[in-house]
Amino acid sequence: MSPMRAKVCMLGTFAVGKTSLVQRFVKSLFSERYQTTIGVQIDKKELVLDGRALTIMLWDLYGEDEFQKLNESFLRGAHGCLFVADGTRAATLAATLELAQRFEAVVGGVPRLLLINKRDLGEQWELGDDELAKLAASGWDVLLTSAKTGANVEAAFERLGRAILARA
């Protein structure tokens, strides 16, 4: 039986670390250099979770800002989504949550996680436990990640993968 193929979108405003998380997960690489994504970059990763094979097609979409707006049609057919915010830039959380609403309107009800990235930058961290508690209370499954150290990166993709398989 061929493995299930799942389209997973990486969504969040620019420079939150979407590409870095994918690169860490797929290639175990990290670079401090910021190279903004234009359009989309698709990477593939094959997972075996609890004995079941899953091929994840990771859609690393460009971060939305005033220069590039997200075209919702590219979200269609997604089996899951990782929303990414930058813990050192509190404003990125609101922007990501707004994207999440738009995602929900196009692809409702698929598994999703919220990653608050750059956890390694403790000094500059701007999100308090109260904010995180609020997110959890409103139904978000939140993980604090670091593409730099790799903390929680694999865990995040695998958790999403399991949720996708559970629905399949």
Partner: protein, 417 residues
């Protein structure tokens, strides 16, 4: 002839031209570009790279809703086995057909001519005719031959330098935005620091004013010279602080981070507390608030902690000021400590109204983030927390029963040399 030019052009430009077939497959016109490994000219969507596959589905959906305006894809990249990246963008176009209203105006002759032209395009060209030969039977069913002129294509362009240019501009714009944001945050931080400093500068003044008032009240007080000494002491403290502020600005925020956990140089908590008490005892006395410090009074030997004496004194002064602000005449404020294995816990307890439940969670947060300013008290606590945390310590709030606040300061002991 025209077709071989078209094919040569497509090959040169590294474009792919895919025509939608009715059976859900796609016919590739011309040779496959380098970035697309295709073994046949008629392709099922999943023979194609994932992004293209999804765009082709989107194009069909677009057409199925009766729309004929062009649809453009996101830019994406394919990577060939030699590691080369190919920035690409696809467009879905309907050719040959016209919106009904226009078509009505068009003369039949023109339409026929247009159709002839397109068919011509398809024939000729070596590999194309070969393909047509193979697939002749199917060609009869090709709706293209039946429908009046409308054919559906997806063109994939290789973007080459255009992509590099766009990328450079966007990269620049985003990097600039990030820089701006981080400068903005830096400014906010400095603002908070400035407020803290002003607050701290005010503290010794309370000591001076308190002492001078006591002096004025008891003109022939035998303790006169002692009180004068205290006032002088506070003035000197303030002078020192002002000098420190100038230092801070001179050396940016650097000096804030400097502290020691070298046991020989570590500040003595007992001495720091005593020195702060000297300043604040008269102020408390004047407000008729008792200041109870049993453990400090009883302590004979020094108690070194990680930190810096001057800043530790400011942290203590902040906490005492806070306690005094919320105390009423006749209340008692306790300043006690406990010497534990790895750290010292110091607490400042008052019998004031306590911190309202609603702001407890954000009590030590930067006021810039917790909404409306809580004024000097909030800044003082923010200062206390950031300072103590830099030393590996902590500060916490606990309500007291039946009323009052308890601030607990945990200070690390220096590693034994």
């Amino acid at each position: 002839m025209a077709d071989s030019i078209a094919d040569a052009l497509l090959a040169k430009l590294q474009w792919a031209v895919l025509e939608a077939l009715d059976d859900g497959r796609w016919r590739m016109h011309g040779a496959a570009p380098v970035w697309l490994s295709a073994r046949t000219s008629e392709l099922a969507p999943d023979d194609l790279p994932p992004f293209l596959e999804s765009f082709l589905a989107e194009a069909r959906e677009h057409w199925s809703t009766g729309r004929s305006e062009p649809l453009r894809s996101l830019m994406w990249r394919e990577v060939t086995s030699d590691g080369r990246e190919w920035p690409l963008q696809a467009s879905a176009l309907v050719l040959g057909g016209h919106p009904r209203s226009e078509r009505r105006d068009e003369s039949a002759a023109e339409r026929r001519a247009a159709r002839r032209g397109e068919r011509g395009d398809e024939r000729g060209g070596e590999c194309d005719s070969e393909r047509h030969g193979e697939r002749h039977g199917e060609r009869q069913d090709d709706p293209v031959d039946e429908l009046p002129g409308e054919r559906r294509f997806v063109f994939v362009e290789w973007l080459d330098e255009r992509y590099a240019e766009l990328r450079a501009i966007l990269q620049r714009a985003r990097a600039t935005t990030l820089e701006f944001e981080s400068l903005h945050r830096e400014i906010l931080k400095k603002e908070v620091l400035l407020h803290c400093i002003v607050h701290d500068l005010k503290s010794p003044l309370a000591g001076i004013v308190g002492t001078l008032s006591l002096l004025k009240d008891g003109e022939n007080d035998p303790a006169r010279s002692r009180l004068l000494e205290l006032a002088l002491e506070s003035s000197r403290k303030q002078e020192v602080m002002i000098r420190q502020v100038l230092d801070v600005f001179a050396s940016e925020l650097e000096s804030i981070q400097s502290f020691t956990d070298d046991p020989k140089a570590a500040p003595d908590l007992v001495e720091c507390v005593r020195s702060v008490l000297q300043v604040y005892a008269p102020v408390f006395q004047r407000r008729s608030v008792a200041l109870v410090c049993r453990a400090i009074a009883a302590r004979r030997e020094p108690l070194p902690v990680v930190g810096r004496a001057d800043r530790l004194e400011r942290v203590l002064a902040n906490l005492l000021e806070n306690a005094l602000r919320y105390s009423s005449s006749g209340d008692a404020v306790e300043l006690e400590f406990e010497d534990l294995a790895d750290y010292v816990e110091l607490r400042v307890d008052d019998r004031g109204p306590g911190v309202p439940e609603a702001i407890r969670a954000t009590l030590f947060r930067k006021f810039v983030q917790s909404g409306p300013s809580r004024g000097v008290a909030g800044l003082g606590l923010f200062y206390c927390e950031t300072t103590v945390e830099q030393w590996g310590g902590a500060i916490a709030y606990q309500p007291r029963s039946p009323r009052g606040s308890s601030f607990r300061l945990r200070l690390a002991k220096p590693a034994r040399a």
